[in-house]
């Protein structure tokens, strides 16, 4: 059976899509197939192979064999060379990868080209530079030579979401490979296509078979199999907090594999009245919630504006939010594409209804855009209270709730009224305020006078129920390392 398919996008770009499971450097059939839908049109793109127990076993075995078959003890310079080569190939095929990303996910093509695909290459390059820079310590002890070695863990599983398919793929594989682990990645069944195209580049770059394996399937089937597999020594999950709990439970019930979780958020974006330039704060705040159609774990979905500038902020924010083009992601003017799926669309619309029924004011938007695809207007709620569902639960759509606050103690208390702690932002021109507030906020990333500034070299991860472990930067290596202490008797 054919494991590729031809597809032409609505902007006339011809694609050859891989549809198999990528195991041991080959594309193979799965136990079943899943259709993937173009969220801009609601039409099926193609069906891809999905992994059942048999294929998950095959993938894990391939990774296990590759790990002990040379990857674990590979020369760091060789790993660096392969990762850099892979990054070069990503650069070469940037256009094609970006088109597949937009086709399967719906994000504007300009975003895919400026953020997602370059982010994949940057991540690979950053961690390629790490391979030969992992140091243990020599520790002074009496009568002994004692030292630590930082070793890889083994076969690492990764379960990634659909919101930034290629970027999320790179966040999982780059540090793992740098530390000489092998990987089995389950992509979201909603966005399997770009990773499968990337898989061809893995072969072209010259990675040994089994080092990188990419499969897909439903979370509760394929994901669960991976999370429970006894030969997977570690699992990294990005997705909802609800599923994060299941992953942790699965690990607890099987081999106590190491778990890192990157979960949901309800991040507070706090605008003080001494902000230097209100237009800039408005610009960043809009990016903070409407980027990627609100489908960002660290989205600034609660905005708190100090009362003195509240009316001004609302007026400017509303105008800016209303001004962007929501529609065809291939159009350069478009800044917001569709929600990922019908289910997500319904969910977001459901929250909008809930917001209204709980008594919040829908100041802007609240409606579907067009009648094909899953487009939703940028939506603003005001007159919200802390315990409303739209203030507590992660909507994961282009819906923001804006509140007023009096002073810093007041707003920090409100900001902390959440189980999440992924990110936060502070807008102010005061040095003292910037530092003090960012110190006080319980969040893994605090932005000052900006939002959504994420890069491969600064750590990212959550406090509280937004997860544990950090991705990106050298901190990420900790997730893919285990430490051995060696203590040699030289005179005890």
């Amino acid at each position: 059976m054919s494991l590729t398919t031809e597809f032409t996008t609505t902007d006339g770009y011809k694609l050859t899509l891989n549809t198999g499971l990528f195991i041991n450097n080959e594309f193979i059939e799965g136990s079943s197939t899943i259709e993937t839908v173009n969220p801009s049109t609601g039409q099926v793109i193609t069906a891809v192979q999905a992994a059942g127990e048999k294929e998950v076993d095959l993938a894990v075995e391939a990774a296990h064999k590759a790990y002990y078959g040379g990857w674990k003890t590979s020369n760091p310079r060789e790993r660096a060379r392969l990762m850099n080569k892979l990054a070069d190939l990503v650069d070469r095929d940037m256009d094609e990868l970006a088109h597949i990303e937009t086709l399967d996910n719906g994000k504007p093509l300009t975003d895919a080209k400026s953020f997602d695909v370059p982010g994949l290459a940057a991540q690979l390059r950053y961690f390629a530079g790490c391979t030969d820079k992992v140091h243990g310590k020599v520790i002074e002890t009496q009568g002994k030579l004692s030292y630590t070695i930082h070793e890889p863990i083994g076969v690492c599983g990764g379960i990634i979401p659909w919101n930034f398919p290629l970027a999320m793929l790179s966040w999982k594989i780059a540090p793992a490979l740098a530390m000489s682990n092998t990987v089995v990645i389950k992509t979201s069944e909603l966005t399997p296509l770009s990773a499968l195209r990337f898989a061809s580049l893995v072969v072209e770059a010259g990675f040994p078979p089994g080092v990188i394996n990419i499969i897909t399937g439903y979370g509760h089937i394929t994901g669960d199999l991976l999370a429970r597999h006894n030969r997977v020594s570690k699992i990294a999950f990005t997705g909802s907090t609800a599923v994060g709990r299941l992953i942790m439970k699965a690990a607890a019930e099987t081999n106590l594999k190491k778990v890192t979780l990157e979960l949901g958020g309800k991040s507070p974006n706090i605008i003080f009245d001494d902000v230097e330039n209100l237009d800039e704060a408005v610009f960043w705040s809009r990016l903070g919630i409407y980027m990627n159609a609100g489908q960002v774990c660290c989205a600034g979905s609660r905005i708190y504006v100090q009362e003195g500038i509240y009316d001004q902020f609302i007026e400017k924010f509303k105008a800016l939010a209303a001004s962007g083009t929501v529609g065809n992601p291939y159009d350069e003017k478009t800044i917001q594409g569709p929600q990922i799926s019908e289910r997500q669309f319904d969910r977001v619309m459901g929250y909008i209804e809930t917001g209204k029924s709980e008594g919040a004011t829908c100041l802007l938007g609240g409606n579907r855009v067009g009648d094909a695809g899953y487009f939703i207007e940028p939506t603003i709620f005001t007159d919200v209270t802390p315990k409303m569902k739209i203030m507590q639960e992660e909507i994961f759509g282009p819906v923001v709730a804006i509140s007023k606050f009096k002073d810093v103690d007041d707003v920090i208390e409100m900001a902390h009224d959440t189980d999440y702690g992924l990110a936060a932002a502070v807008f102010t021109s005061s040095l003292k305020r910037a530092i003090t507030v960012s110190n006080r906020l319980e969040a893994g990333t605090v932005w000052v006078n900006c939002y959504n500034q994420i890069s491969e070299n600064t750590p990212f991860g959550g406090y509280k129920q937004s997860g544990n472990g950090r991705e990106n930067s050298v901190y990420a290596l900790d997730n893919y390392t285990q430490i051995k202490a060696v203590k040699i008797n030289i005179g005890l």
Partner: protein
């Protein structure tokens, strides 16, 4: 008199290549105002060509180019972009690997195959290694009292000066350039006037790679003039020097009378190789042989003293000479199977032969070699002295040639004492199968590198640098980044009330 930049030179195998002979300042090849200096082919004793040298005006121009570039451009370039440029440079060096190796072999006299497979290969690896550090140089946040926010920044120094020797022209340049660039500095490097050619080919690649003008500047000239102007220059924030201990003192003095610029000195050595009774003697002999005769003995870290336990001395000596005969094929650098080429110059050639005479006069015995090889080119036979003791000049002074001095020891404590009885402390080795001995000896010897059951094993990621009068500061590895950065602490006071 100004000669054109590009000169055609002929190799001993009849091939012709083109070389740059001008100074490389601000991404341009410019004639200097210093005297033309002839560079000699040590294999033939003939002039290869002349190169322009830098006088004080030229050193000024280079330093100013670097300073301007740092202030206006280089310090604003994102670290990931710096990494990309350094990697691109490595790519170009890979592309032109053979040409770079030819220049090293021609100007220095080392075998072409060694230049290609060791010098150039390791240089490329060095650039790639340090490219990976460019965006990973981290300060710290440090908790003090609750009302302060304190953090450190590891900042570039600005303009870094480097003076490199002739023994590994391209590789010594890499050891300076790579960490300096990764840490964000601009550089003015003075190559040895004895081996000026390879670095200019490298300079052309720097320009092709896309480095902004002024990041890398390469000049040449005599140490006592050009080198002196550089080490005394008020706009140079740091001098990195590799060469003799005698000149190292001058560089240090120069810093003390100018702007107290930071220093890094990588000087001479008289490293001891200790062969224990329980060593695998054949393996030890093979490693020890390379340890002294690699690069024709012209390595600061050469294992030029071998201390052998008396019970295995004769056996070891026999094996050592056997390996010397097998390994050391002397010949023209461009012959495929050459291991050892000529010494670098007439001056060095004379100096080494003189030390051989001194050794004989001191009562040491020439057990192998001891003479010139051939009658053209500065070739000297690999030479083995036995019956040595540690007060002999040939056991204390750096010869920098293919001459090894072998002495006996009775106990391991004695060996440690002999090894440490030196003003130098660059490297050393111990050959043993016993775990305790390995750890004890490596703990006790006062040197910057200790090899166990090997010698001359280098990695980009492990540091290299001396104890005692072999210098200070580390090259290679993460440690070297400290030499090219300066630490600023920022302490912001805020009251706990807003």
């Amino acid at each position: 008199m100004v000669q054109p930049d590009l000169q055609t030179v002929r190799l001993s195998n009849g091939k012709e290549i083109t070389v740059h002979t001008h100074l490389f300042i601000n991404n341009e090849f410019v004639p200097g105002h210093g005297p033309l200096i002839e560079t000699i082919n040590p294999a033939t004793e003939e002039v290869i060509c002349s190169v322009h040298s830098a006088d004080e005006q030229d050193v000024n121009a280079a330093v100013n180019a670097a300073a301007t570039c740092f202030k206006d451009t280089w310090r604003k370039v994102a670290p990931a972009e710096k990494a990309r440029l350094i990697n691109k440079l490595a790519d170009l060096m890979e592309r032109d690997r053979d040409e770079l190796a030819i220049l090293d072999a021609l100007d220095n006299g080392k075998a072409f195959t060694v230049a290609r497979d060791v010098d150039i290969t390791d240089s490329i690896a060095c650039y790639r290694y340090f490219a990976g550090w460019a965006d990973k140089i981290h300060g710290k946040t440090i908790d003090t009292t609750f009302d302060k926010m304190c953090y450190t920044r590891h900042e570039a120094l600005g303009v870094v000066g480097a003076v490199i020797p002739w023994n590994y022209p391209t590789m010594m340049a890499a050891w300076k350039f790579a960490p300096a660039l990764a840490a964000g500095n601009c550089i003015v490097m003075k190559t040895s006037e004895i081996t000026p050619l390879p670095a200019y080919k490298f300079a052309a690649l720097v320009k092709e790679a896309g480095f902004p003008a002024g990041v890398v500047n390469i000049i040449t000239g005599y140490g006592h003039t050009t080198g002196n102007y550089l080490s005394g220059h008020p706009l140079v924030s740091k001098m990195a020097f590799t060469g003799s201990t005698a000149t190292g003192r001058k560089v240090m003095e120069s810093s003390s009378t100018s702007n107290l610029k930071k220093l890094q000195l990588e000087l001479g050595g008289k490293s001891a190789q200790i062969v224990c009774a329980d060593a695998d003697l054949d393996q030890a002999a093979e490693w020890a042989c390379g340890g002294i005769f690699n690069n024709h003995g012209q390595s600061c870290n050469a294992g030029s003293r071998i201390l052998v336990h008396e019970s295995v001395h004769d056996q070891f000596l026999e094996l050592f000479i056997k390996h010397t005969k097998a390994m050391i094929k002397i010949g023209d650098p461009f012959e495929e199977d050459t291991f050892q080429g000529p010494q670098i110059s007439k001056a060095q050639f004379d100096k080494i032969l003189n030390y051989i005479e001194i050794g004989k006069k001191e009562g040491a015995v020439v057990s192998y070699g001891g003479k010139r090889w051939g009658n053209k080119g500065y070739y000297i036979e690999p030479t083995v002295f036995t019956n040595c003791h540690n007060q002999m000049r040939i056991m204390r002074e750096e010869i920098f040639g293919p001459v090894v001095a072998i002495a006996k020891f009775k106990t391991i404590e004695e060996a440690i004492d002999i090894a440490n009885d030196s003003d130098y402390g660059l490297a050393g080795s111990v050959y043993t199968t016993n775990l305790d001995t390995a750890i004890t000896v490596t703990n006790e010897i006062k040197t910057g590198t200790m090899w166990v059951n090997c010698f001359d094993v280098f990695d980009q990621s492990t540091p290299f640098g001396g104890y005692k009068q072999s210098g200070f500061g580390k090259e290679l590895g993460k440690y070297s980044l400290q030499e090219y950065t300066q630490v600023k602490v920022v302490k912001i006071l805020r009251s706990s009330k807003i």
